[in-house]
Structure formats: structure tokens, C-alpha cells
Assembly symmetry: C2
Homo-oligomer: 360 residues x 2
Amino acid sequence: MSRCPSLRARLLLCLATAATSAGVHAQPAQAPADTATTAMPATDLPYSGFASDAAKAKFAELLAEVRAGKAPNPTDIADQRQFYQRYNDARLQEVQRRYPAKVSELTLAGVSVHSVEPAGGIAAAQRQRVLINLHGGAFMWGAGSGALVEAIPIATVAGMRVVTVDYRLAPEHTYPAAVDDVEAVYRELLKHYRAENIGIYGCSAGGVLTAQATARLLQRKLPAPGAIGMFCGTGLLFRGDSGTLGQLAVGQAPMGSDGGASLPYLSTAKADDVVAYPMQSPELLARFPPSLLLAGGRDFALSALTTAQRRLLAAGVDARLIVFDGLWHAFFVFPDLPESQEAYARIGEFFDQQLGRAQR
Amino acid sequence: MSRCPSLRARLLLCLATAATSAGVHAQPAQAPADTATTAMPATDLPYSGFASDAAKAKFAELLAEVRAGKAPNPTDIADQRQFYQRYNDARLQEVQRRYPAKVSELTLAGVSVHSVEPAGGIAAAQRQRVLINLHGGAFMWGAGSGALVEAIPIATVAGMRVVTVDYRLAPEHTYPAAVDDVEAVYRELLKHYRAENIGIYGCSAGGVLTAQATARLLQRKLPAPGAIGMFCGTGLLFRGDSGTLGQLAVGQAPMGSDGGASLPYLSTAKADDVVAYPMQSPELLARFPPSLLLAGGRDFALSALTTAQRRLLAAGVDARLIVFDGLWHAFFVFPDLPESQEAYARIGEFFDQQLGRAQR
């Protein structure tokens, strides 16, 4: 986080620092001091032959933007917010062209939310179910259009109501403010839906918050949601190989070793807090509901996700992992990619299979 | 395959060629001609912080062996066979220290097999079930001790009988000889076990063969096995990002673009043969049994496995993926690593949950 806003919701980032960052050399390295460190030579990475032509074209476009330095000032939050607002607004137009939906704004337990339904309405079989979406954006932006980009395709493909939560953002509000807001909305929804008929999912920061909120609900002895989806983020810091390999693969500098711990939102979270970092508690994980973890193969979050899934499996949880080779962090904000549509289908199927069906 | 025996069963490979291989530069690259190709600078990759200390120590050891050029002559099959025989014999000693088992040799339908049981015998609840193990080794070696290294931990942890098949090897015998041998053994086992109580699994070349054999059984309209495990190999060529990223991460040269198609075994396999390359046929995949796919995060096979799982999911198959961050191709031949023991546990659970329980 020191160099780049690594927990950012989107690909476009500070390429300018890549060539001079720690761990990156102009020459092939000598054998490194740590005998388990691999000295990788400079290499051209061709785009994955397993990804679609559309993904390849979009990747080339994004890579060109990164090369051109099209990114907000990483030390200016107002500039970042403005940049990602424009970015998310553009994505939302693409989403709305493909997935017609009805969107309404309301307040639940004092928290602003959007309620999203398929334009044709909700099928009778899905009326007793609801999904809570927690948007990405480094806990600092992503409300509004960013949230709708994540909610509309899922509402439409799954045929379910999705409630997006405009949780309080950092740096003005830090952990556990966002968790408090999700808990408040969940308690309100419990008045209308059975817990096992409620799903929670989120992307990037929203994936982290999904893990945290689930831990909080369990800690408070509330009935657990029926299933959760942690996409491109989970209850672990962004450590492991993908912080280096995934970043290099998208033309960026390796992530710092803090793995996101220095994000403003987490400044008030202690390392041993099992709500802030739930993947460290096997006892808590054993009570997690069925979980879907999903990421791109070039996502800096990949190692956190694969590790979180292993810990959930070890705790006896039905945890599913899907990895899209060649795709990048939060790729499914681009609704026209076949891989995005595949992700929406898998997410919709997962919640349809895992959530309860009983009427309240 | 032109440069390195990429479908090899083990890590130790031709480092010597790494620095001069196509796609690897002594200097950071100019923007590559293909606008979707990423020019990655030389980089020190620290070992994954998500992996165990034991895995880190073993990786450092293997990296040192790679640096020292401890690898067989890639153009001399006799040398490779001798090298891997010694290698597998050493692994087998480690396996036998930790997992006591009874091993017997027999012939089924004219094919040599080993039958492996836990030393304490098979629990009553597992007597109606059997697993078929198809060993790795580039389709050119790995019988005997190599097969037992893969079979003994699973037999012991799952408490099931495992039959390892000494299928005919290349280059003396090519596709579909190995598939024929697996089919013959399967038909013989069908006389004693219900199809849904039989599992098939394999690592590396054995993972490829598991996919091929399953496709063959379905094509011949035999009853499908109850579940299969494709580890570090599957019914897809080794293309995608991991052919570059995974190889670089273990100190080796990027895999050639043929992704294994030039292996001697596959010299008689046509690209459109759905038994040789089953992942290209959605209709065939739809009939696949529940599948477990498992790989290390630094495995050159990772992209093939993640892509195969997506194709199986898209075909409606219950396909599970597990990825071990920082671990390498076929890491679980080292039985003392916590990650290996975790893999054995997940494999055992998977077959226990998926295979049928009815008596014949």
C-alpha cells in the first residue's frame, strides 16, 4: 500500500513506479540472499491462450492505459474518487445495455442502500431470497455506480433481489464502521427473510468485507447467511505469490509486503482481531456458510483467495474456488467479456443451489 | 517440449536453457509487438508467505538442485528413466516411513498392477470401493516406486484399496496404448465393484491419462466411475499463463507454446480426438463424474487445471479446484510437507464423499 493503492477496485494503477521498485532489477539478479527466493529474468508474458479474444483485446487496451500512466494520483483521495467515479459510471452504462434492471434507493436501519431487481420482476421461486452486495473500491470509493455494476448482472442472471450497501467509507470512517453498517442491514433484512435465504457477496474490498461481516454475524450469534461469495478479496491480507506474479503479469510493480494492512480502513484493525482477519480462526471458519471464491489468474488477490479456500475446506466448510486464467483483478466489471458472463452464471448458480427455499 | 521435457513428473529440469530461451531477455523488454503481451522486468520472487516453513525449506533445496544443474539429459530417455527411478525410490522410502501399507503385485486383464491397502486392513465401510491410480512421469517413466509414492498415502489416509496401473509407456508405446490398459483394468474391476464405487486419479501425466481414460469409458458406453481426480495434469495441453509464470517461479524457462503436444506419447493423438483431448467436447464433459482438480500455485499445469475445471462447471459437472500457493508441480510426492498431508486429506475426503456406498 505504501507505493500503490493495491486494494484498489480497478486495474489502472501506478506503472511509473514499477521499474524502480524494490525487488525489480534492470539486470537479471544474482542468486538472492534468501535461498528460497527465485531470481526471475525479464520475460515477455504472452496473453493466456485459454482466455477469450474479447478478454485479450480488453487486456491490451488496459495495458496501453497503464503504459500511458492513466491512473489517479495515489496520494490524493479526491482525485482517486473522481477517477473511479467516472470509471464506474462508464461500466454502469455497459452493464445497463446488457442487463435491464429496476433500481430503487432506500434506507434500511439508517443505512443507504440500492435495491436491484430484474426488469421483468422476481420469479415467484426467488421471492423469499435476497442477496447483499458489498461493493469494491479500497473501502474508499465505489458506492453508487460501482455497486450497481456488481449488483445488476447478478440480480438479472440469478433472477433475485440484490441489496447493495453504501457502507461508510475510509479514510473518514475506519474499521469496523463498514462492518457495523452491514450488520445493521442484515438485521433489518432478517425481519423479512430467513437467514438461510440471504446471501452476501462482494468484490475486492467487498470480498474482504463479506468475510468480516460474516465473522461479525457469527460472533454476535446471529443466524448465519445461507451462502457467501468472496470475489477478488477475502479475509486475508494480499500476501503470497500473486502479490508479485499477478502484478507483474498486468504490467505493474509487485505489491508491498504489507499486503493491504496499511489501507486507511484497516488502520484501526488489530492483527489478532478475528472479525477484521477471520481466516486466522479455525473455530470461527468452521461456522462459515458455503462459500464461493472467485478470481482472475492475474489477480493480486489470487493467493489470498486460494489460501482462504484451503482454510475453509480444512475447517469442513463447502468452499468452492474458480480461477479465470489470464483475467485480472475484478475483471467482471466488464460485462461484455465472455468470462464475465461465465462468472455471473457461476455466481447465480451457486446462490441458487446453496440458499434456502423455505418461506418465512 | 522442444526444449524441456515439460510433462515431466518432477521439478528438476533444464535450468541451463532458461537464460537464453525465447521470450527471456537480459534487459527489460521494449513494448512487445503483440499489444497484449506484458514485458515483465527481472524480479526477485520471494517464497510465498502462505506456504509452510517446511515447504519453503524444500523449495530452497530444489532450487539449489536446479541451479546446480542436477537434472537428467533431456534427450536421453535411458538417463531420464534412471534419474527418476532413483528419485522415486528415495520418495518411496519417505512415504513408507510415514504411511504403513501392504503392497502386492498382480496381473489384471493382462496388465501389471500393484494393489495397495492400509497396513491395518480396509475398514468394512470401504471394502466395496476401490481407487485406480495412474502414475505420472511424462508417460515415459514412473511405474513401480513412482506409482507407489502416489498410491500409498491415499490408500492409508482414505482407508481404501488403491490399484496402480503399470500402463504401457512411451516412446515404445504411444497413445492410446495407456488408455487401452486402463480400460482393461477398469473392465476387470467392474466384475468386483460397482462402477459408482470406483474412483480414478492421477498426477501429471497420470492426470492427463485420468481425463483420457474417463473419456474412453464414456465413449465406449461403460458405466462411469463414481468420481475422478486430476492432479497437476488434465485433458488439456499445458498452455495459458502458468506455462510462463509457474516455470519462472521455480527458476525454469517458460514452457514452449506446444504445451506438451510434442510428447512422444501424444505423437499418435490427433488434435480433434476427444479421448486424447477430452476438454474440447462439452457433450462428453457433461457426462464426466464429480471431479477434483488440484495443483500447486507454481505448477506449470495450473492454467490447464483451472481452465478444465471451468469447462466442467460449464458442462454442469461438480468440479472442485484446490490450489496450494507457492507449491510446485507434483509437490505431494514429498510426504513430510504439511501441504502434502493436506492434499492427501482433501483427496481422501473427496472420494469418500463422492463414491457410492452400495454393495455389489
